[in-house]
Symmetry: C2
Subunit: 622 residues, 2 copies
């Protein structure tokens, strides 16, 4: 029945929670060819079906679970599925992705995408099993943390092999930076607040189980590429180290470079040793894990058995981002406290980046006297106070006291606090900036400022070219000097490339750690899986189309040049490296290379037509 | 302390519900001079302070209660206050106004405007008394209808002279077309769903009481104009008839002209006699009332003592709009049933226009088989079934069963129902069109299509020029023929004029029934009250600025050319008069006379600069 030779299952499942109805539709081939998968296909659907008058928490917002063609095949480092919806943090396009096994299982159950609309009358779960859809009463799970609710659901459904995407209390309580958990709350599609969108739909969980096999179009070619990648993974020292230490291996070096934020993005120093791997992080490390068919296996399990920071043994340990945002950025150096905070965020279903960014913002407000103990309910919310941080995480998830204000994210909380608090909210478009400081890699300036989904680090940043000497000449990026020159173009190309990689279903670490080298190997693997015949140039063009359809969504929903901005602090206050962001050249260069009007930040008619988006050009330009 | 000679109190009260704090600020004179008052000043504040990422139900949306300079003075026919917020129906600019005594009392209490932000933790009321602000626990009133809650609040506060603006159950339940009541639920700021915004803030009521007097700058000139207006009111036969019959006097004649909708805007006939005044309406009429210092007093009180449609005696009777939308447009001809439905809408706090439009839409869906008794919970939701209509009003207000879907308004309900239902949702930008059919007055075409706040009839329509022979040559509108020619310009000028009149605080009936004649008398009265020195041309320019600041809000929030459209039915199906709307010439003429780009519907840079809106030009054009 499928019109695809491989990779794509060829079916979309639409679920209407309001009317408890579902319908299966074929995946239109032109959607797959032009938008690849993931937030590409999801992005085009969101653009077409969610008009500006629908806000994030409206029943009419769509919550799209999307996979790419390589998901569910034995393609290495391809265990990521994507969630797409209008974001309650930005009011613009939102997406987030998670590792684990859920995406592969959805495809085994017979679907490339789930498109969920409406709002259930009472807490509901959905169970998709080999093409059959069941709506279940989630009242017994509502109010439970994500791990407990997944375990009970599996037990109640009588099958431990079910894969679950669900929310914790934060999503239920519409915390604007709630995420969607999977794999027993060990992986999270964290950013943009999509867990709150799920909560607004009264949808506790989406369970999937399937016995289908995703065909690979060209088995022989596929085997060849796969073997090359696996060989590469085994030989490269860098990847081997990453297998052991995971993202925390980045903490020490990036802190030294001044890339990792501390004390709410100020120049204040601390000793990074206790948070680093190797280093203090080893005291909590109790093992390693892989996502679906991943030969790298960068996941680290962690254990703290005793003391105030004890938690269930052998659950996911904090990533680099978490150590930075809930560690150094909050002035906390006790790795056990960070691991505890990380586990709480996973249980409640909170994005650790936004949680850390928002609490660090509040700590600065507290130290500056903009808020007092009267506001915080007696908490001494100072930098380095790990117990206050942990208590605040609980208050945010349950929206208790001052947690109710911080649950709105730093941008909104700053408006409520007033008195200049917004100068200390380090966000773009309402999404707290991830733990990479654009003051030390100038390509990050235009990237963050113009990022479709706010302060993201996974949508293509130039960090490894600028700071770690990575060559991207294959993609057409000339070798970068330390000057701002060329950084606008570099940002644009890495974004387009990342849009292709991520939409196809790969984990971007496959690219960042160069598991596929040269970059053409991604395209070759994509072709082998799907039976298509893309060139590297085609892939970059598809990525650019994907980037622009999400941009067009933002423009339709009111985004303008004024939204392309960085926090004042990053432009005016020197970071630990002694530099500020200089947007004066890079931003214009970025708009130029993007084909976006530099006055309005709107994609030009010509650019849209060049990308085959005639209908979008008509929408935006008349 | 005030920098104003008259009319303006000169003070704004800002209330933060999240932190239970309030602050008084001076009203900036330039805001008053450039934006007059009402939705003009309120509009500029909303434009400046509510960014696109804030959605209607967000705590960060503002709910602005605004008055004009003539409110609270003895200016005739000036008892209207305005409410402004981002609308949950449109996602764009929302405003609504109500008669009664509340606006005058707010000014007596010391304020021109209340700007309410944030969201209370639990049901709250605000009591403003001579410059003092009190936050009260509204838990005892939450769940009560608006009339009962106003009465209890007055009793509990111990002062029967307090004026109250509040919501009923519909606003509490976030029904998207809930309004804000006043004067014991007899008057309502009905449109755009602002009652739901109030509900989302957990704000049950705003009570005001004051002993201040609003100064009039030029008493002698003021007396002169006032006497002229009152003389005019007493002499004009037309106004005298309006004093007796109120807006229902329009029902018979407008039905005959084909202007009044029936059976969801189809050509189906009925006998209008039982709904008309004089006629069947007289059987429910039990008296007349006035708003604050109004010499016309068009309000009719009504009584139905016995039978299924009985309600509390001597409450507000249905207006023309209500008789049309809950009467003929639902195929209901029993005036007692309509009066009962009207009273229920007032008690629950529902806009009767959107309620009638949405139920008529559902009736058509039912008759066409798009929904069945299974959907409606057993209700035979056919045209003419008054009991089903009344039951559905209750279900909408409480969001029970299918009422939960209709509570979203016809546009969203149509998306949920699917299967082509949207062809029967008669709305513009999500706001159900008021009971005047643009198929019989072609100036209504561009007016409705481009209306900032959706399908409104009170923002300047050309009906009385086109159908009732009213001359508007003083305003610069040439005499109109029946051809579409000149109708775009006519729409533009009447809108600008209405924006001035309404923002100043007048009831637009002062203008429609020509109580002030010639039109300059409005400007003279405005000058006498404020001590300013506007010409008619200045007033029209201020009106145009006000119209455009609201438009600019919409553009910033994602409005585009695609939003300027009419329901297919009005363009393709002949109404009772045998005509359709012909937008082919009028729309282009309208854009031309507005100085809006015809491809994107965006105000041109030149137009904005001409209106002194340089900053807005920069926002929209870079």
């Amino acid at each position: 029945m499928s019109s695809f030779r491989g990779g794509y299952v060829g079916r979309i499942l639409r679920i209407d929670l309001t009317r408890k109805k579902s319908v299966t539709q074929p995946l239109p081939p032109e959607l797959a060819y032009n938008y690849i998968g993931g937030y590409g296909i999801g992005g085009r659907i969101l653009y077409d079906e969610v008009p500006p008058w629908v806000s994030a928490f409206d029943a009419e917002n769509l919550l799209i679970f999307s996979t790419g063609p390589v998901n569910g095949t034995p393609t290495p480092v391809a265990g990521r599925h994507t969630v797409v919806a209008k974001s309650p943090l930005t009011g613009f396009f939102g997406d987030a992705n998670a590792g684990g096994f859920w995406g592969a299982e959805l495809k085994a159950a017979g679907y490339d995408l789930l498109i969920i609309s409406g709002r259930a009358e009472k807490p509901t779960f959905i169970f998709v099993r080999d093409g059959e859809v069941r709506f279940g009463d989630a009242t017994p799970y509502w109010g439970l943390d994500a791990r407990e609710s997944e375990r009970r659901l599996k037990k109640d459904l009588g099958d431990p092999k079910i894969q679950v995407s669900n929310i914790g209390q934060a999503g239920e309580n519409l915390v604007r930076f709630a995420g969607i958990l999977t794999d027993e709350a060990n992986r999270i599609a964290a950013r943009c607040g999509l867990g709150a969108v799920m909560g607004s739909k009264k949808l506790k969980a989406v369970a999937v189980r399937g016995s289908g096999k995703v065909p690979v179009a060209n088995e022989e070619e596929f085997r060849k590429i796969t073997q090359e990648v696996i060989k590469n993974v085994r030989q490269e020292q860098n990847i081997q180290t990453f297998s052991k230490g995971g993202t925390p291996m980045l903490f020490g070096p990036l802190w030294q470079l001044g890339d990792t934020p501390g004390f709410n993005w100020t120049a204040r120093q601390l000793n990074p040793e206790t948070l680093s791997w190797p280093g203090g992080y080893e005291t909590i490390l109790s093992g390693n894990r892989s996502c679906y068919v991943c030969p790298i296996g960068c996941r680290r399990i962690s254990t703290v058995k005793e003391g105030a920071y004890a938690f269930e043994p052998n659950v996911e340990g904090p990533e680099y981002e978490t150590i930075s945002m809930l560690g150094s950025n909050c002035g906390v150096t006790d790795v056990k406290a960070v691991a505890k905070a990380n586990d709480l965020c996973n249980l409640y279903g909170l994005d650790t980046i936004s949680t850390g960014g928002t609490i660090a913002f509040a700590m600065e407000c507290f130290e500056r006297g903009l808020i007092t103990k009267e506001d915080t309910g007696g908490l001494e919310l100072t930098f380095g106070n790990a117990d206050a941080m942990i208590k605040m995480i609980e208050m945010i998830a349950s929206r208790q006291g001052f947690g109710d204000i911080l649950a709105e994210g730093s941008r909104r909380a700053a408006r409520i606090i007033g008195r200049g608090a917004e100068d200390y909210a380090i966000h773009v478009k309402g999404v707290e900036i991830a733990a990479h400081d654009p003051r030390v890699f100038q390509g990050g300036g235009p990237h963050y400022a113009c990022c479709i989904t706010g302060g993201r680090h996974t949508e293509g940043i130039t960090l490894e070219c600028e700071l770690l000497g990575r060559s991207r000449e294959t993609l057409g990026i000339p070798k970068l000097s330390t000057s701002p020159e060329g950084k606008g173009l570099a940002a644009k190309v890495t974004e387009d490339w990342t849009a292709f990689i991520a939409s196809a279903g790969w984990c971007i670490f496959a690219d960042i750690f160069a598991a596929y080298l040269p970059e053409e190997n991604f395209v070759k693997a994509f072709n082998a899986v799907t039976g298509l015949n893309l060139t590297l140039k085609d892939a970059l063009l598809a990525g650019e189309r994907i980037f622009n359809i999400r941009k067009a969504f933002n423009v339709k929903h009111g985004a303008s040049r004024a939204d392309d901005k960085l926090p004042k602090r990053l432009l005016e206050e020197k970071g630990r490296a002694g530099t500020v962001v200089d947007l004066s050249k890079t931003l214009e260069e970025y708009y130029e290379s993007r084909g976006w009007d530099k006055n309005t930040s709107k994609p030009t008619k010509e650019k849209l037509i060049q990308l085959g988006l005639q209908d979008v050009a008509k929408d935006l330009w008349g």
